[in-house]
């Protein structure tokens, strides 16, 4: 009796949760031995854990162009964003309660900006999902602004944002700018125009369980939490997760340029092949974008049905469509851009994604779309 080996899964839904980078995984496992103890304790075991945490902080600071004392570990990216908005707003409560945000910020930022008495002002985006830099610069300069938040690039559609310009305006107005670099760091160039920077280790293969929050020393913040030795992440963090995040960051920055070129070419191929399919909108900026993200929407297609069909074919993709059992509201990013929200497919290529993986996806996609459309009886529409 012979067995045919099933084709390996093609995993293209890597935004925000990439598979372990091998070096990060090795670092995590090694740190379980040395970093399990509470780093606040004064005995040898505690000191070993503290040394790992300090080393991780130093490595991240060097990678991000920050000082060691400016780097804070949190329990994850969402916690970083919630904490940053609350801590900046709290420190500037006498200036005002208004938080200026881009329309396609991560939901964690949008929700935090209207939480606890804060007042959210949303700056619109154009059809490729880019925030109006002039409008946002004007908005941050008006009185009563506690903080502003603008992502480095959008993780759903890949479009880069005018962060340098908005940072100049914010700085001139004395308003701190939170930059969500959760979809960028590890893939795109490390930025320097920020007051507070949030980076997501899970997005670059550093593993889940830790977030990185960098706050320039000059920026005033007040912990939104009760008194704790770790004011921005009460109770501390998982030391092996922080250590793996740092080791993973060093690894992905070391070959970033090569990975940028390789993945940019693969995304160009995806965009070209998908554009040739019938009734599809490829969305996001075609050039000024993240190297590894591609998003498109198929007319007359149920996004959940398409995702399920591709999953059966061994291909995992994401979707911003509302036609899922969990949500009636479509992606706020696609909605703000005014593009088709149903039939949406989102891919983010990992460093481990091969050319053969992309080809398998592109070979499976047309038939999957045709099957879903046939089931809905839309031929000839």
């Amino acid at each position: 009796m012979t067995h045919t080996t099933p084709a390996p899964r093609v995993r293209l839904d890597n935004g925000g949760r990439a598979p372990w980078h091998p070096l990060a995984r090795e670092a995590f496992e090694r740190a379980l031995d040395d970093g399990w103890a509470d780093p606040r304790r004064l005995h040898a075991e505690g000191r070993r854990a503290a040394a790992l945490l300090d080393g991780a902080r130093e490595a991240v600071a060097a990678a991000l162009g920050a000082r060691t004392e400016e780097i804070h570990f949190t329990t994850g990216h969402t916690a970083s964003l919630h904490t940053a908005v609350a801590a900046l707003a709290s420190a500037r409560s006498r200036v005002g309660r208004r938080v200026v945000v881009g329309a396609v910020e991560r939901a964690a930022v949008l929700h935090a900006a209207e939480h606890g008495g804060l007042e959210r002002e949303v700056v619109a985006v154009d059809a490729v999902g880019r925030v109006d830099g002039a409008a946002m610069s004007d908005a941050v300069a008006r009185p009563g602004v506690a903080l502003a938040a603008l992502q480095l690039a959008n993780g759903e559609v890949g479009t880069r944002q005018p962060v340098a310009r908005v940072h100049d305006a914010a700085r001139a107005a004395g308003v701190p700018l939170l930059v969500d670099a959760g979809a960028s760091i590890g893939h795109d160039e490390v930025p320097d125009a920020w007051d507070v920077l949030a980076a997501d280790p899970a997005d670059w293969g550093g593993g889940p369980g830790a977030g990185i929050l960098a706050i320039r020393s000059r920026v005033r913040r007040r912990s939104p939490f009760p008194e704790d030795a770790d004011p921005l992440s009460p109770g501390g963090v998982l030391v092996p997760a922080a250590f793996a995040a740092a080791v993973g960051l060093q690894a992905v920055l070391a070959d970033r340029a090569a990975q940028d070129a390789r993945r940019r070419a693969l995304v160009d191929r995806i965009r070209a092949r998908v554009t040739a399919l019938p009734d599809v909108e490829v969305v996001g900026d075609p050039v000024d974008r993240l190297p590894h993200v591609a998003t498109f929407s198929f007319l007359y297609v149920d996004g959940e049905a398409l995702l399920t069909d591709l999953d059966r074919e061994g291909v995992a993709v994401g979707s911003g469509s509302a036609c899922t059992s969990s949500s009636l509201e479509p992606s706020h990013v696609l909605a703000a851009m005014g593009v088709l929200t149903h039939g949406n497919v989102r891919v983010a290529l990992d460093r481990s994604t091969s050319e053969a993986d992309v080809d398998r996806f592109l070979d499976a996609l047309p038939a999957a779309v045709a099957r879903v459309r046939a089931a809905l009886g839309v031929e000839g529409l």
Binding site: P330, A335, V339, L340, E379, G380
Partner: protein
């Protein structure tokens, strides 16, 4: 290929003529009642009603699906039609639950 129809929609409830409208009147022939249907069905019902209709025809779709408010204009743009009106359908549509207020979007068919 436009004349061949590969299969019937799951049901015909969204085609013009179903049920009373918000004021108790039956929807007219230029109204597609897609209330209660989820994406992408409202757009598909509207496209089915638009098939073989002359350029310049105005069609209105009623929908409770939040995605339809975004996707009907996107469909119109992709097909060369124009959106001429979009407004809440008041009073709240029959059978619509809390937070499920219906919208009416009117498109004018292009010449394609």
């Amino acid at each position: 290929m436009r004349a061949t129809h590969g299969g019937s929609p799951p049901d015909d409830g969204g085609l013009p003529g179903r049920g009373p409208g918000p004021d108790g009147a039956a929807p007219g022939p230029d109204v597609v009642d897609a209330r209660g249907l989820r994406c992408p069905l409202p757009v598909i019902r509207l496209a089915a009603a638009a098939r073989d209709r002359a350029a310049g025809t105005r069609l209105t779709v009623w929908s409770t699906d939040p995605a339809a408010r975004l996707d009907v204009p996107a469909w119109a743009r992709m097909r060369g039609h124009g959106v001429v009106a979009a407004a809440p359908l008041t009073p709240a549509a029959d059978g619509a639950g809390p937070g499920e207020s219906a919208w009416a979007i009117t498109v004018e068919l292009g010449g394609a």
